[in-house]
Symmetry: C2
Subunit: 347 residues, 2 copies
């Protein structure tokens, strides 16, 4: 058998740095090409050769040079996640990436996070990544109905998955949460608990899921025929004190709402603080149903009812879909909708 190196003596060995294909070639007596092929499990390499090369590679801890692979193939083996500052609060990013990492296990892909400072849109970051081919795929959120990032990526045929839908006519990969159902069930719950005037704190209007939430909320209040109101002055991305102060001000006026659907945990906390300025107690004078994405809110304020959005699952789905997109599978099964699991305590 080939258990000893053949005649690998006269080779020009690399000084002694990191092991390279060349090192493996010298060690096994095969040519660099063969080693490369063996490691990538190319079909035309004999089983015995493949085995031997893998063996020695593992032994000396060979790892391919990503820069060289990237230069040669044009592929970066990198997935870039665009994160807004808004999103890192309360671990949106963490949960999402935990799932993403799970989906990318056993792929050659690395995750790199591109945080978005300064500019409110991250279209520039998208352009930069595409133009400099800094990644093979993109993941982002805060999707808008006619999202310029989606437009740009579709035009350039660059693989991506966004969290949230658009209203563009070209179908594209996305993973979304059923925000209609969330808001519908949340509002219904408030009404069931006897609240006569629900309200909802929405994301900025330009984001697609703002419409979905609004629609779900409206459907519930119309079905029940109760009063409602929708504040224009604040949204989920407003500074916390703005929300708090607005709620407080409103609570001091006539016909104040007695039920809140909160799209995020932070806005729920701000609401509680604002209401308490007037001595109003959660669960007594008013109720809140909030979207739960972390443990913070429920542990601080167990009286808030919540509906869970599983961001880790979201991240995992996004990873799965992105892999499919990069592999070039057809667009079926590239649009995922995640359902909220409602689990209110019995009333």
């Amino acid at each position: 058998m080939v258990d000893t190196p053949k005649s690998a003596a006269a080779e020009t060995r690399p000084k002694s740095g990191k092991p390279t294909l060349r090192t493996l070639a010298d060690l096994t007596g095969f040519a660099v090409t063969t080693v490369s092929r063996a490691l990538s499990n190319a079909p035309q390499i004999s089983a015995e050769t493949r085995r031997r090369v893998h063996e020695v590679a593992a032994e000396i801890g060979y790892l391919p040079d990503r820069a060289a692979q990237r230069l040669k193939t044009g592929r970066t083996n990198v997935i870039s996640v665009l994160l807004d500052p808004h999103e890192e609060i309360l671990g949106y990013g963490t949960s999402l990436m935990l799932g993403l990492a799970k989906a990318l296990t056993d792929t050659p892909y690395h995750i790199i996070v591109t945080p978005n400072f300064m500019n409110d849109s991250n279209l520039d970051a998208v352009r930069h990544i595409v133009r400099n081919s800094m990644a093979d795929g993109l993941i982002f959120s805060r999707t808008e109905p006619f999202d310029p990032r989606v437009r740009f990526l579709l035009e350039n045929d660059f693989p991506f998955v966004c969290h949230g839908r658009t209203e563009l006519s070209t179908p594209h990969p996305y993973v979304d949460y059923d925000n209609f159902s969330f808001a519908y069930e949340a509002a219904k719950r408030l009404i069931t608990r006897g609240r006569r005037k629900p309200t909802i704190i929405l994301p900025p209007k330009r984001m697609t899921f703002s419409q979905h939430l609004m629609h779900g909320f409206m459907t519930a209040v119309r079905e029940a025929g109760v009063a409602y109101e929708i504040p224009e002055e604040i949204h989920l991305d407003s500074p916390i004190d703005h929300i708090r102060d607005f709620i407080s001000r409103r609570a001091g006026q006539p016909d104040a709402p007695d039920g809140f659907v909160c799209g995020g945990e932070v806005s729920a906390l701000a609401t509680i603080t604002g209401m308490s300025d007037h001595g109003l107690a959660l669960g007594v004078e008013y109720d809140i149903v909030a979207k739960q994405t972390s443990k913070l809110l429920v542990n601080i304020q167990p009286k808030v009812e919540t509906i869970y959005e599983d961001l880790t699952d979201t991240g995992e789905q996004m990873g799965r879909v992105l892999m499919a997109r990069i592999a070039g599978t057809n667009t079926a099964d590239m649009q995922v909708m995640l359902k909220p699991t409602i689990n209110f305590p019995a009333t």
Copy 2:
């Protein structure tokens, strides 16, 4: 002058993809080497050539291929930030990276975030980054007195800056916050406000700054000669509900603390909730002084007094120090201590 290309006709032009040095060479009539040198402002290139090359490069939007640069030079132009899940809550990561990004403006360095899942130490991530030369420099936090990551990086002479000090004898770059002063001033403040039994919620004991906080706290209570206690059951990284339940339980027992120094905002919120289980009100029956690193706490609970830690400044300092370390400047000025700015309202 050289305002028209010389005889650049017979060159083998690249198909038509992204512009490369070769494209610029053909366009300007210079050799690839000259173009490369001109762009990197090498001294031996004539001023006119330099100008012309830069001009054309800007015109066609040339951007160097990072993979090729990296392969050739061995430098990655990447700074890697290791983030723990704990840290992304409440935007620790965001603030830090905002500052870091500021410090890296006008350098060729990119920031990439390596999130740490699974394993509680990220020594593995450090090893991986060093071994595969995935970055030119490393930034991390949650530093321990005999931090194995610091040890490893020092042994391998790999540039890094950590947030927090060690007790290793080899001096190394770090940026730290004066947690002694924080805890000292916080405890003193509680005592000044008439609290008779302060306590402190510390980070896990294995982290260096846990000792600093404890020391500052102890100094203050000893100076004042008041009672105190230090809970062993919980720490800043404990699940929120553990903290809340512990505080609640303790509040129901005799000799409960009436003043809390909280090392983080989340623990302060949990404390408030735990105390309110027994009808105890913040600012009435007890006080809290917390470390403030975001706007969340102060906007939710303005009655909590806080001392600010400027994480953006921290990030900027870390970037500055890391650049110096990479440039090989001597180790002076590589140890930065940031002072808390105390600004309590007049009593």
